[in-house]
Amino acid sequence: MKVLTIIKKEYKQIVKKKSFIISTILSPILMAGFMFLPILLQRAGREEKTIKILDFSGFIQKQFIEESNKNKRVKEALKLNFTNIIKTDQKQNSLIKIYEKNVLNKNDSNFQLIPEYKKKILDKMIDGLILIPENVKKTRQIYFCASNISDFETNKYIISTIQKILSSNVLKEKIKDPKIVEIVEKATRDVKPSLFIVKKEGTTKSRSEIPYIMSIFMLTLLFSIIMAYGQLIMRGIIEEKNNRIAEVLISSTKTQYLFYGKILGIGLAGLTQVALWIILGGVFISRYSFKIDKSILSFFTPELIIYFVVFFILGYFMFSVLFSIVGASVNTDQEAQQYATPISFLLIIPFIIGIMITQNPNTSIVVLASFFPLFTPTLMFMRISVSIPSFFQIACSILSSLIFIMFLAWIGAKIFRTGILMYGKKPSLKEIIKWTMYR
């Protein structure tokens, strides 16, 4: 069978390459790194931060700094260092007042820092500045100015600590009986949440960001191998076109054999790589499971791995046909890149939708989008990785993808047949459509 000859050649040509071996070995290492990353980031990733407090109310800063110095977590995990500004600049106080009045009157205005403080932050002499207005008791409004405000843990600590100090101060002022104060303080303590993720395989303690990070990671992996193998096909076809091997091939066998043989051969190489990853990953996890965060381990269920393979196959066939159409229609790699970009967008759009998925994987727009064939491989997989949709939905998406792939391959084979022998000028879209009409 001549198809087998082509499949064999395409498969060997990739699997025997050094880059295949390198990427097969390197990827699990990166993957392992990714597993440890959240833990490592938490342990070593923090820099020490100096935050100044400018307290116009006069009663918060002392307690705040005392409290923070006592707190081990602040020093060791968060690495925060709070100090106060002894000489409070009254100019800043009046700037706050102007701002608050403006806000009250619904006037737009910018919050203004006096140049001295602004410069300190910009020059990285301090990492942040907490401003506590005079009438904080009444308004319960504080201001935190920093060059980086995305450090959620720090924000959370500052807010909850000031809240506690404020509350206990107010209580002590109004209620003279310390026993009652104690009772109230106890009664208003923070709730401590523990998050558990529930799956068929079991219930595991997790952190809210873990499933999000992991599913984005798996999606990236899926995206990159679909892209990588799709582009391999594209470049292979361009080589055959440029070298005019195409003529010899076509005079030896059917173009359909060539087309399907190529896609199957390269696809098998891709599957081989995925299989090797699964094996290597399995070996790694079984050896070092005690070192890996349980919440990460619980993410890799057998079901998820199977779906990964299924959606890789679907995505690969879909996009390899698209890429082979591009390869057959252009003459150079540069020209191909021009067309490959819109195709990669088709893979990136689900990423953006994917962010919605993590918050609510079953909103109707997401469900709908996951049935759009070009989005299915990535989007449906992401939905599965976050929370498994009904089997009916999964089956429908797989079926619709299969039908779409067959349709696409049918058109692709036609374009391929004509395109692979077209040299010289770049065909217009109209011409390419005409190619599909040829019998």
Partner: protein
């Protein structure tokens, strides 16, 4: 009728409104070698691609090995395209087995024949080298091996000598003749007339898509008469072209080819030459294919004559 290996009937092909191949017909019997001649852009490659079913003719018929082109006969044909190409990353042996299998060969057959041909083309020591490590000439030879390895009954070679050095041209020519002896029917195109002259049985000359000349080589040559002379000389021969009875001169400095008007002017020419030159040799020759070709071109397109010496 059916014993013709190749039959082309009134092939026509247009590209963007321009006629690339115009009404070309030809027939070729088993074991015959046909030279498809013509300048660059004449339509040789287009004709060959139509024979190979790579492009479809706009009209006309093609029959190969007694039937219409089909998957079945692909294994019985060897095709060397004009622009050579191999997979650069494949090793020589892998290349042989891939293309061999593609032509329906068994593995041990590939091994046997492949090795024999590698030896013949002096490529034995490169068998485990990658194609990209070969020189251009070696890659050409490898491509030629691929074309003939499966023992096709019909060979179609587009510019088989292009890019080869004289030694390898000899090897390729020998193999073409050897194949002919085995009964293989061969079409090859070339714009290098000298090579065609020594190998072909018959000739089809095309220019601007049209057939301008065809027939057995010997017939064509005799048709163009014996009024061709080759003169080896010393001196200044500029005057020769102004002699009334001289139709055409190709002067190479020490040797010239002269075509006379009519058949009875040889003596006059010799006299005139001896008067002004020292003549080393003087012989009548058959017209060379390139002479015939140039002449024929001049006849068929008066418009752009003389721009190509």
């Amino acid at each position: 009728m059916n014993d013709h290996v190749v039959v082309l009937e009134k092939l026509v092909k247009d590209f963007d409104g321009k006629r690339a191949v115009d009404n070309i017909s030809l027939r070729l019997s088993k074991g015959e070698i046909l030279g498809l001649l013509g300048p660059n852009g004449a339509g040789k490659t287009t004709t060959i691609r139509m024979i190979m079913n790579i492009i479809a003719p706009d009209s006309g018929n093609i029959r190969l090995l007694g039937e219409k082109f089909s998957e079945k006969i692909k294994d019985r044909i060897g095709y060397l395209p004009e622009e050579r190409g191999l997979y650069r990353k494949l090793k020589v042996l892998e290349t042989l087995s891939f293309f061999g299998e593609l032509k329906g060969m068994k593995r041990d057959e590939i091994k046997k024949k492949g090795n024999k041909l590698l030896k013949k083309f002096d490529l034995e020591s490169y068998r485990s080298k990658k194609v990209e490590e070969l020189s251009k000439g070696m890659a050409q030879k490898l491509q030629f091996i691929i074309t003939i390895m499966h023992s096709p009954e019909f060979l179609i070679l587009d510019e088989p000598f292009a890019g080869l050095d004289p030694v390898n041209i000899e090897i390729v020519k020998d193999i073409i003749l050897e194949k002919k002896r085995e009964g293989v029917t061969i079409i090859f195109s070339t714009h290098l007339m000298e090579y065609a002259e020594k190998t072909v049985d018959s000739v089809v000359m095309i220019n601007k898509g049209k057939k301008v000349l065809d027939g057995p080589l010997s017939e064509i040559k005799s048709m163009y008469g014996t009024q061709f002379l080759k003169v080896n000389y010393n001196g200044n021969a500029e005057f020769v072209s102004s002699l009334k009875y001289v139709k055409n001169v190709r002067d190479y400095g020490k040797e010239m080819e002269i075509e006379l008007q009519g058949n009875n002017n040889k003596d006059r020419l010799l006299k005139d030459l001896i008067n002004k030159l020292s003549v080393n040799s003087f012989q009548t020759t058959e017209p060379s294919l390139s002479n015939i070709f140039i002449k024929r071109l001049a006849q068929t397109n008066h418009v752009d004559k003389g721009d190509d010496k």
